[in-house]
């Protein structure tokens, strides 16, 4: 059984979705889709639960309620491998599916169906993506799903697990390498002195103790005038961040912005210095880490164009010119990797030679005779369990940061379309059979009610901004819900509308829920003139 919860996998993870389809078509796996929209691929699903935007915790808790009510939980696993189960049991008592339909948006009978299917499945994978994490209560959403894995024991064994699908070829690796404000390489806790000391010894200079700021907090610091310089490598925050008007002002106000990229995107146009880099997937030497923690080699197949240069050389050259303390020198990708292996114990056994011979290794892999770790939570099946028990973390339903009201009666949810990738910087140049264009997805009933025809230009307004976009009839959205992608920010700057309410722990903004008003563009313009 495969559950896609808040994941538009067929459009946004098309390769992964092909693997899932192989399981569905050839091996009889059941696919369940939990999503506010009738997303692409729904025709292959045994069940679709149209969760209300922001209703994920309530729905997950309702599923947990049914599993417990019907005695379908994995009692042996819960007793041996988990803790805080009683807190969880108490918390979900308030989520009888019939009582919380208004929060979940899902008929109670379908909640019960999903609960029985999941609890009784031999093997079940629960996958999620940004539909879960781009909310102001993202961490609670994630905990509510993890709780279901713990309740049923669908974790840490072949064919079963909890799987946040990663959005880029190396999202996993970026975090693993310590490109995080509170973690050193190997996902090690920066607050631990022994962790800082290990890195300091290898780098030949102390590691700052003070925790850093995550991306949203950096924008707050810019607003307060505390942050003056920004170094951006291969990102387009001007167009990818929520509340775009605010972000532009902050970037323009910086004393200095350095951009290192392969393409001059609209963020780069605001930079003070732009350095042309290599495309990691075709021109760079090194490694990347995929969704299953597998580190794999990448090698250059092409020479970088024009004067563009190897990214590692650029960073090293900057450090050397700034007379950085420590062991900075020009090194090969492999030499840098071998240094990382000294800083990060979980990568210790991953030499380039082994990665090449074995076609990749999954961390943790501490020593050169270690085979890697295919199942991260496999230890939960040991008896007794070695190390910490897996905690249930009870979570309660909360409203979205913005609710619809008389002035802003539609809920806008955002995402990606098949043809394009994020802000379109790398994909806008390719030919696409359906073309690169943005439209507002709206259901036939709402279009009739507003007197709109296919292709009519509408103005979509939120409390922060407005965009003009043609409307297109879509069977994917239900009455009251509309959809825009962020793929074509030069045509339709969707993030002028979105809200920068962020999860206090993860720092991720609620891109998935914005209250908007929709008017025919002509009328909206005339209203503005009066």
């Amino acid at each position: 059984m495969i559950i896609l919860w808040g994941s538009n996998a067929r459009e946004a993870h098309p390769i992964m979705f092909q693997h899932m389809m192989r399981a569905v078509r050839r091996r009889g796996a059941k696919l369940v889709i939990v999503d506010p929209r009738r997303i692409s691929g729904i025709e292959f699903a045994s069940l679709h639960l149209p969760v209300r935007v922001g209703g994920d915790v309530a729905l997950a808790n309702a599923v947990g309620y049914v599993i417990l009510e019907e005695g379908l939980e994995n009692k042996e696993f819960i007793a041996r491998a988990t803790e805080h189960f009683e807190d969880y049991r108490a918390a979900v008592q308030r989520y009888r599916p019939e009582d919380v339909e208004e929060w979940t948006g899902v008929p109670a009978e379908d909640v019960r169906k999903l609960a029985r299917m999941y609890a009784k499945a031999d093997r079940a994978v629960l996958c999620w993506t940004l539909g879960i994490t781009e909310h102001h209560n993202a961490v609670k959403n994630v905990h509510s799903l993890i709780n279901l894995g713990l309740l049923t024991g669908h974790i840490g064994k072949p064919g079963s697990g909890l799987a946040p699908l990663r959005g880029q070829n190396n999202v996993q690796g970026g975090g693993d390498m310590g490109a995080l404000p509170n973690r050193l390489p190997g996902f090690q806790d920066l607050t631990k002195p022994e962790v800082r000391e290990r890195a300091a010894k290898v780098w030949g200079t102390p590691v700052p103790e003070k925790l850093g700021k995550h991306q949203s907090a950096m924008f707050d610091a810019m607003a307060k005038g505390e942050m003056h310089a920004l170094y951006i490598v291969g990102e387009n925050p001007l167009q990818s961040e929520a509340n775009q008007k605010h972000v532009r002002g902050l970037l323009e106000n910086l004393d200095f912005m350095l951009v290192q990229d392969i393409i001059l995107n609209p963020t780069g146009e605001l930079a003070d210095v732009v350095l042309p880099a290599t495309a990691s997937w075709a021109e760079a030497d090194g490694t990347v880490t995929n969704s299953e923690r597998r580190v794999q080699r990448v090698r250059p197949a092409l020479a970088p164009p024009g004067e563009s240069r190897d990214d590692l050389w650029i960073v090293e050259e900057l450090a050397l010119r700034m007379k950085a303390p420590g062991n900075w020198a020009h090194r090969s990708a492999e030499e840098n990797w071998d240094e990382l292996r000294k800083v990060s114990p979980m990568h210790g056994g991953m030499s380039y030679r082994r990665l090449e011979e074995l076609g990749g290794l999954q961390w943790p892999c501490p020593t050169e005779d270690h085979p890697g770790t295919p199942f991260l939570h496999g230890r939960l099946w040991e008896n007794p369990v070695s190390g910490a028990l897996a905690p249930f973390v009870a979570a309660d339903h909360e409203s979205t940061a913005e609710e619809t009201d008389a002035e802003y009666p539609f809920m806008l949810t955002t995402g990606r379309r098949l043809e394009d990738y994020n802000t379109g910087v790398q994909t806008r140049y390719y030919k696409a059979p359906r073309g690169h264009y943005e439209r507002l997805d709206m259901c036939a009933e709402d279009m009739r009610r507003l007197g709109l025809q296919q292709g009519d230009l509408v103005q979509v307004s939120s409390r922060r901004g407005q965009v003009l976009v043609p409307v297109e009839e879509s069977s994917k959205v239900h009455p009251g819900l509309v959809f825009l992608s962020l793929n074509h920010p030069d045509q339709v700057a969707t993030n002028l509308l979105t809200l920068d309410a962020t999860d206090p722990q993860s720092g991720t903004a609620e891109f998935k829920a914005t209250a908007v008003r929709i008017e025919r563009a002509k009328e909206a313009v005339e209203e503005g003139i009066r």
């Binding site: 700052p208 990102e235 004393d255 090194g286 990347v288």
Partner: protein, 87 residues
């Protein structure tokens, strides 16, 4: 071995640029790198390391992400580094 190069009609950046009089113009690597190093050094002296932030790239290699965080933590001296992997 000489590798073939992509024929880039696709907006690839082909040379360094620096801002002058409000506009980006073509520059040599020497000019761009020394401008970047000098500006960052002077901002660090004036406002301290925590006046800096960095966004690293989840499309690039582990080795690059490793070096960018090492750069921020040692050359600048701050933990203000993030990337899009928190979703």
């Amino acid at each position: 071995m000489a590798l073939p190069s992509v024929d880039q009609s696709s907006g690839r950046l082909l040379y360094p640029m620096v801002r002058e009089g409000g506009k980006l113009r073509r520059a040599s690597w020497e000019e761009a790198l020394s401008a970047a190093a000098e500006r960052m050094t002077s901002i660090r002296e004036r406002y301290g390391p925590d006046a800096f932030g960095a966004f690293s790239c989840s499309k690039s290699t582990n080795e690059l992400n490793y070096l960018v965080q090492k750069f921020m933590r040692t050359a600048i001296g701050t933990n203000n580094i993030d990337s899009c992997n928190r979703t």
